[in-house]
């Protein structure tokens, strides 16, 4: 993993004026030393403690929206999203209590009810993060009612297609397009349950004047919502190795 010195909101921390201090904290009973500018999530992962995430992706700014990475912090009145919460001295974190796991599973169930996720016919079957989370969190079925909204598929782009039935609104595609590619082709329109990812003025992707066709969005998408054309069930493998390299190279270039 490349070393990141980013504020959770993507703002680089100025190390020249902010000498970073080290501190001690406790995650799942384990004493851990960390830098004060690190999030609970990154500290936990460095120490082999896995916290499930969906909207988080190394190399993109944090969004704190999927709420799957919530953890219990001793003394905090609420559950905190570990991806945006910085570690503090003597912080005691529990990442896998029964309460937290139960909430995570229910949030995941809500995600499954929200759109029409049909794993068996999905290009990302077997390689989908949402599907993997259902295994990881032991979600055997969804006990809330499915909503079955009507969503479209946009296959107007020459190389990619987007199936909104499989979108989880994690906004990774939006962030990578804005922060890494710099094109900001995509954004969210509407709000609440009717929110939807759009390209340009909600026009067909193929007609987009701003899309560079780089395909970064496709490869950061955790589900089969964004995929390359011509891929059949279970064939869409996402490659994300470009992200840390690209970040590093661009940083080098700016020097």
């Amino acid at each position: 993993m490349t070393e990141q010195r980013l504020h959770p909101r993507g703002k680089p921390l100025r190390t020249d004026v902010n000498p970073v201090r080290l501190l001690m904290c406790k995650i799942d009973g384990k004493d851990i030393s960390a830098r004060e500018d690190e999030t609970i999530l990154s500290v936990a992962r460095q120490n082999g403690i896995n916290i499930p995430t969906l909207c988080h992706l190394d190399g993109l700014s944090e969004r704190g929206a999927c709420r799957l990475c919530i953890v219990e912090v001793k003394g905090a009145p609420r559950l905190l999203p570990s991806c945006v919460t910085l570690v503090r001295q003597d912080m005691e974190v529990t990442t896998n209590s029964e309460r937290v796991t139960a909430y995570r599973r229910k949030i995941l169930e809500l995600l499954f009810t929200e759109r029409n996720h049909v794993c068996s016919v999905c290009v990302s079957n077997g390689q989908c993060e949402l599907q993997a989370l259902s295994v990881e969190l032991g979600m055997s079925h969804v006990h809330f009612d499915y909503i079955y909204p009507r969503h479209s598929i946009d296959a107007t782009h020459s190389r990619f297609s987007v199936d909104h039935n499989r979108c989880v609104l994690c906004a990774r595609c939006i962030r990578v397009c804005d922060e890494v590619e710099g094109a900001h082709v995509m954004d969210v329109m509407g709000r609440g349950i009717t929110a939807k990812v759009i390209t340009d003025l909600s026009q067909p992707w193929g007609d987009s004047e701003t899309c560079t066709g780089c395909g970064k969005c496709v490869h950061v998408c955790p589900t089969g919502a964004l995929s390359e054309k011509g891929k059949s069930v279970a064939e869409m493998t996402k490659r994300r190795q470009f992200l840390p390299y690209l970040q590093l190279m661009r940083k080098e270039g700016q020097k």
Partner: protein
């Protein structure tokens, strides 16, 4: 690029763009003027069409998708042209308790349009507001900008019918 050219000719034809440009200039043509500018467009044109969204995006250097995202996030903005007459039914708590739902239902029965819709002849638009702040007068209905308090369903229908009749007479 095309959009800019299109908007410029449009600008030459339509003096209303001057007001929009003035709003943008007042905010230094900065991206954060987006919402104020959209307000200005809607105030002068009645709604936000694709051309004006493109024009604003170009002028303020804001990505197209962001402009569209903002325009659809806020319920005050509308992307469809409103009807000749607009009837706003308040759906605040006091008005709801006072029977706003009945008004909406009767409206739909009579004119066949639900909230946010316009009749096919483009005469009447029905809109709901989350709260007009006239809770003391619940249920409140706004007829073309004129607030009326303590409305009953048939009174509303009566008023709206008068619109359609007057227009056909003209």
């Amino acid at each position: 690029m095309e959009a800019k050219v299109g908007a410029k000719t449009k600008e030459a034809q339509d003096t209303r763009w001057r007001f929009v440009n003035r709003t943008m200039r007042l905010h230094g043509n900065a991206p954060h003027a987006l919402i104020e500018t959209l307000h200005s467009v809607q105030e002068h044109f009645g709604f936000l069409d694709t051309d004006s969204l493109k024009y604003v995006a170009n002028a303020l250097h804001v990505p197209l998708s962001l402009v569209y995202g903002v325009a659809t996030f806020y319920h005050y903005f509308t992307l469809k042209p409103p009807g000749d007459h607009t009837c706003v039914v308040c759906k605040g708590t006091a008005c709801y308790i006072g029977g706003a739902a009945t008004i909406l239902n009767t409206f739909e029965d009579e004119f066949g349009i639900g909230p946010g819709e316009t009749t096919s002849d483009g005469k009447i638009s029905l809109v709901t507001a989350r709260c007009l702040g006239s809770c003391g007068l619940a249920p409140a209905v706004v007829f073309d900008g004129e607030v009326k308090g303590r409305m009953k369903a048939d009174e509303v229908l009566e008023k709206v019918r008068r619109w359609t009749e007057n227009d056909t007479n003209v």
